[in-house]
């Protein structure tokens, strides 16, 4: 329809203004959001996957009781036999090299996955929001300094930094998390800065300034609520991607030590068993397939959830 005049009948919902509002409009919006979310089957699948993983992480001690209470992330192993053994009553998913229990690894690995995903993305997000807001809103010298620093971090090669840090700090999930924070925050900062630059030009920001609202309040009340959604969506997708990257680093031997309940580490341990002996190529399918499949499922879940979140929260997609 006509785009000059924004008095557009399609954008305004039909409202009976004489009716008093029966419930808080924020609740109405929330209900609308939920309804919008439910309408999309893919988002339900994503949500279910993530919910199942969450439950597994929460109830890990019941699903797979640890042998050593103080160090539950250590996968128990039945003897030292080299070759993996197939699924059995004792080991529902079979065992890996040195008889590490795959089932136990998967269950407690869920906790590791959430730990990696959440800590990396959350810290990146916090750094990104703070630095991005300053750079985007104030501009000028702040912007210049912050953006040049992000440029510097962009220039660091991922693997080299990862290896250097592992050498400095020792093997382990902590090192992986730190590497991904150091190299991840510039992306968020840039994204938030870009979003804020477009929002900053809106008239309602000027109106707030003209009515004497302080800068901090303008950022918190006007700018972030209107710009942070797109970043949150990317962040939710990145949780999956982060776990994937961590798994890749583990696979390269930069992650947790042998026997630690971490999916990437498990795949890495099974490197030698991907292909079986000449007469039975697929004899050890379970050692790689099960952890690999779980990683893929985890990433898929977050991606579907992120996609659904975009449909729901993005003002352009929301009412389509």
């Amino acid at each position: 329809m006509n785009s000059v005049n924004n008095e557009n009948s399609t954008s305004a919902i039909n409202v009976d203004y004489e009716q008093p509002v029966s419930q808080h409009p924020a609740l109405t919006e929330a209900i609308f959001t939920v309804k919008r979310f439910i309408k999309n089957p893919l988002s339900i699948i994503g949500l279910t996957i993530i919910l199942v993983f969450t439950l597994i992480a929460i109830f890990a001690p019941f699903l797979a009781p640890p042998e050593n209470e103080r160090d539950p992330y250590r996968i128990p192993h039945d003897g030292w036999t080299i070759s993996p053994s197939p699924p059995s009553a004792d080991h529902p998913f079979g065992t890996m090299e040195q008889q590490y229990d795959i089932f136990y690894g998967i269950i407690w690995g869920t906790r590791s996955a959430f730990k990696i995903g959440f800590s990396v993305v959350l810290i990146n997000l916090i750094i990104g929001v703070i630095l991005g807001s300053i750079a985007g809103y104030y501009g000028g010298l702040f912007d210049e300094i912050i953006m040049r620093i992000t440029d510097m971090f962009y220039a660091l090669p991922f693997l080299v930094v990862a290896m250097a840090l592992v050498v400095a700090l020792g093997r382990g999930l902590q090192s992986i998390i730190i590497v991904m924070i150091i190299l991840g925050w510039p992306t968020y900062t840039r994204m938030i800065r870009g979003d804020i630059l477009t929002i900053r030009e809106k008239d309602y920001i000027l109106a707030a300034r003209a009515s004497g609202t302080s800068d901090l309040k303008i950022i918190i009340r006007h700018i972030l609520p209107n710009s942070v959604y797109s970043v949150l969506i990317v962040a939710s997708m990145n949780i999956g991607a982060t776990v994937l990257t961590a798994a890749a680093l583990s696979f390269l031997g930069l992650g947790a030590e042998t026997g630690y309940a971490d999916w990437g580490q498990m795949v890495s341990m099974c490197r030698n068993w991907i292909v079986g002996p000449p007469d039975a190529r697929l004899a050890y399918w379970y050692v790689v397939f099960i952890p690999g499949f779980v990683i893929a499922l985890f990433v898929l879940g977050w991606n579907l959830l992120g996609d659904a979140a975009r449909d729901v929260f993005d003002p352009k997609m929301r009412r389509k």
Partner: protein
């Protein structure tokens, strides 16, 4: 007056997330040959959607539900029209390019930012008037052949002339064939016996299958070195473009053709868009708010330009606007729309002198006319939401003269006097 385009009972809906927006509620309008026809209304009243429906370029989620759009472009029989809503998309494309051009409000977005102005204008020349361009190229070539005596050059140029001739012949062939099919199509149009229907269908298929370029021409256009003769056409096009831009009042056109859209001002961009629209010698120019984003002095320039072109090049103009001042200046006949309904159609003078529909009256009273100290009258309420439009006459909730019947029954278009019709129950014969 001869009709040129007629829309009958157009109904277009938009299927949005909130519900079905009933954007057009049975819109009928007629554009006559040789007039400037205005379509006025507030935003969201469906004026743009009407025209887009008539051109079949309604974008998703919009859909034309019912109605007829009849074009009277047949040169042999002016009174017999074709319903384009029933024709194929390929057919529509040939009409949109050749008989009807559209210009839009945002000239900037209508132009491709990475192509030069000269290329974009020239492209539409090459597309729609290739024959003419080739003739121009041949003319300059002839001059050069006469001038130069070097036999090698002469031979080369003569060879090029031959190639150009091939293209001309090919275009002629295409034209005669398409005209033949089209006249057969007109003959079968509207007939209902099974034999004619079958023939009609076959003709439509044939029309689409018809090759625009014959084998020989395709070959000469693809062969390296030989295809360089195309440059002669391009040179001719460039000259033609410069000539056209000069006509449209673009200062320094020789320089402008090598520039890019972002280097030009809004008014200049709109001129370029108009020049592209003119390249195909349209019978009807549809202008969708072409001046709404421009300053008054630039708007005056563009309106003046359209008025000039109306005299010299285009037969009819369909002008969409929300500005009643612009309507008063440029249009001959006007239709006022409200919320997907046509309210009133009249000549401009009648409409401003004695408006009949209550909405038109209200609209005219709410425009500042430039008298000091006047008090503006307003139409109470707001434009209705078209997902749940008011029953009966869509204007009734805001109408000062509302009657019981208005709430239940949609008013018919009543012909009041010569060329002045109104859709309002107030004027029903008792």
């Amino acid at each position: 007056m001869e009709k040129l385009v007629e829309a009958e009972e157009l109904r277009t809906n938009f299927y949005t997330f909130e519900g079905v927006v009933k954007a057009l509620n049975g819109v009928s309008l007629v554009v006559n040959n040789g007039e400037t026809y205005g379509l006025v209304g507030e935003s969201g009243c469906g004026k743009s959607v009407s025209v887009r429906s008539m051109m079949r370029i309604v974008q998703a989620p919009g859909k034309i539900e019912e109605g007829k759009v009849v074009l009277f472009f047949n040169e042999k029989d002016r009174n017999k029209g074709i319903d384009i809503l029933k024709r194929s998309e390929a057919y529509m494309q040939s009409i949109r390019g050749n008989d009807i051009s559209m210009i839009f409000q945002e000239a900037g977005t209508a132009l491709n930012p990475v192509l030069s102005i000269g290329f974009q204008v020239g492209e539409s020349f090459l597309l729609h008037r290739r024959g003419e361009m080739i003739k121009l190229a041949v003319k300059t070539l002839d001059k050069k052949i006469d001038e130069n005596s070097n036999s090698l050059f002469r031979m080369w140029r003569k060879f090029h002339k031959r190639l150009l001739q091939n293209e001309t012949d090919d275009l002629e062939r295409y034209k005669t064939e398409i005209v033949k099919i089209d006249s057969d199509l007109y003959r079968t149009e509207g007939k209902t016996d099974s034999k004619s229907l079958e023939k009609h269908k076959r003709l439509l298929v044939n029309r689409e299958r018809l090759n625009k370029q014959g084998l020989k021409v395709r070959l000469q256009l693809k062969t390296p070195i030989i295809r360089r003769y195309v440059r002669r056409i391009n040179a001719a096009v460039r000259e033609k473009v410069i000539e056209l831009l000069t006509d449209l009042g673009v200062p320094n056109p020789g320089n402008i053709v090598d520039r890019y859209p972002h280097e030009l001002s809004g008014g200049m961009q709109q001129r370029i868009v108009i020049s592209i629209a003119l390249a195909c010698n349209p019978t009807l120019l549809i202008a969708d708010e072409p001046t709404s984003n421009l300053d008054v002095t630039i708007q005056a320039q563009i309106l003046d330009l359209i008025r000039q072109l109306k005299k010299t090049q285009i037969s009819s103009v369909l002008f969409i606007t929300h500005d009643l001042g612009v309507v008063a200046e440029i249009c001959d006949r006007v239709t006022v729309m409200y919320a997907g309904d046509t309210c009133e159609t009249a000549s401009v003078k009648d409409l401003f002198k004695e408006p009949m529909h209550p909405y038109t009256k209200g609209l005219l009273k709410s425009v500042p006319k430039g008298e000091i100290g006047e008090k503006l009258q307003t139409i109470p309420g707001t434009v209705p939401n078209l997902i749940t439009p008011p029953s009966g006459c869509r204007f009734h909730p805001r109408c000062p003269d509302v009657m019981e019947i208005c709430k239940s029954q949609k008013p018919e278009m009543l012909m009041m006097k010569d060329g002045h019709s109104v859709a309002c129950h107030l004027y029903r014969k008792k």
